[in-house]
């Protein structure tokens, strides 16, 4: 079947023949490789996207199910080549470890600041609970996000 949905503000279509995940369609067909695949089971959060206003793991979304939906990936959080406040803050603080989980953290943190512009340290940690992939280096990420004030996007 052909599915049509809105991806980072633009209408797109994809051909879905098997029960593939939205993550696979994003990466393999639509060539947006920012969303990462580390676990394929919702554990790592590296594939986080915003689907109709809610942050979800795109590996757990059946691609055929997003017909008519609005999807924002990490490629869609910056506008016109200008990084958003989360990206700026993480960049400035060097808030990465190996970097594989970073796209998912950018998406989850951006969503956090859009719904709660002044999160506490605890709220930041809880918002990233689905992205903490258990290597290390999260102190810098949390500290970077704590520096953010004002509008994110």
């Amino acid at each position: 079947m052909i599915i049509a949905f809105t991806l980072n503000g633009k209408p797109v279509t994809a051909r879905v023949l098997t029960p593939v995940s939205l993550l696979d369609v994003l990466r393999d067909q639509l060539e947006l490789s920012g969303s990462k695949n580390a676990c394929d089971q919702g554990e790592c959060g590296s594939c986080s996207i915003v689907l109709d206003g809610a942050v979800v793991c795109s590996c757990l979304v059946m691609a055929a199910d997003v017909e008519g939906s609005e999807v924002t990936t990490v490629e869609g959080v910056a506008s016109g080549g200008v990084l958003n406040a989360v990206q700026e803050a993480m960049h400035a603080a060097g808030a990465v470890q190996c970097g594989f989980c970073t796209p998912g953290i950018v998406v989850a943190a951006t969503d956090l600041f859009e719904t709660n512009p002044t999160p506490s340290r605890t709220e930041i940690k809880e918002a990233l609970a689905g992205n903490i992939c258990r290597c290390t280096g999260y102190g810098a990420i949390v500290r970077a996000l704590e520096e953010i004030t004002g509008e994110v996007s």
């Binding site: 995940s21 919702g42 809610a54 942050v55 979800v56 793991c57 590996c59 989850a108 689905g130």
Partner: protein, 235 residues
Amino acid sequence: MVETNFGHVRPEHIVGLRRVAELEEWEGRRIGAAVTWRRLEVDGPRALAQAARTVGSPQIRNAGTIGGNLATASPAGDGHPFLAAVDASVELVSPSGTRAVLWSEFFTGVKQTSMANDELISAVLLPEDLPERHEFAKVGVRNAMVISTVCAVVTRRDDGRTTVGLGSVAPTPIRARQAEEMISSIDRPSETDLNEFARLVSAETTPISDHRSTEAYRRHAAGVLCRRLLVRCLR
């Protein structure tokens, strides 16, 4: 979805339920099957909201639903102890009609239910008169993204009637009926009563040892957890 990602199942036909609006309806004590953990976390009855808050991560709570939790029928499902403790029913629809199945008839084994092949979970039906107090807690090895080692709900009515719902300590969610009966008749339980309550709870569990925990630990933790939850209800 995980099973298809890993190639464990290759379904020929798939029915997409994400945009079936009726399944998202939540009116009073009837909670649509597609109501997410996120919504339950915000608007659910206390112990169910507490349970919802411990499920997975924000991403999982935005996608996971109470109906999905039931259909999976994992012994460790975090929503199950509440449904057991309040005697909730599962509403099933099929081409031949709608029926409500009590939770204890719904779960038949590890990841097994009494649903027929042509049935779909449409809602969870909570009783109108929820107990005045109910509390949830779980034991796991970390704060987020954790499958329960033991999860439990204790409810207590003003007249003393107490119920105990437990997960991860038997092939299906269970009630600790002997513990319930013992403590329900005691208006103000003493330390000795609370200890006996915990002992009975532990005795009624039939846990296994696996990669997450041991039989002995689960049995012990179930008693400790329920004693603690009862104390919270009595405050």
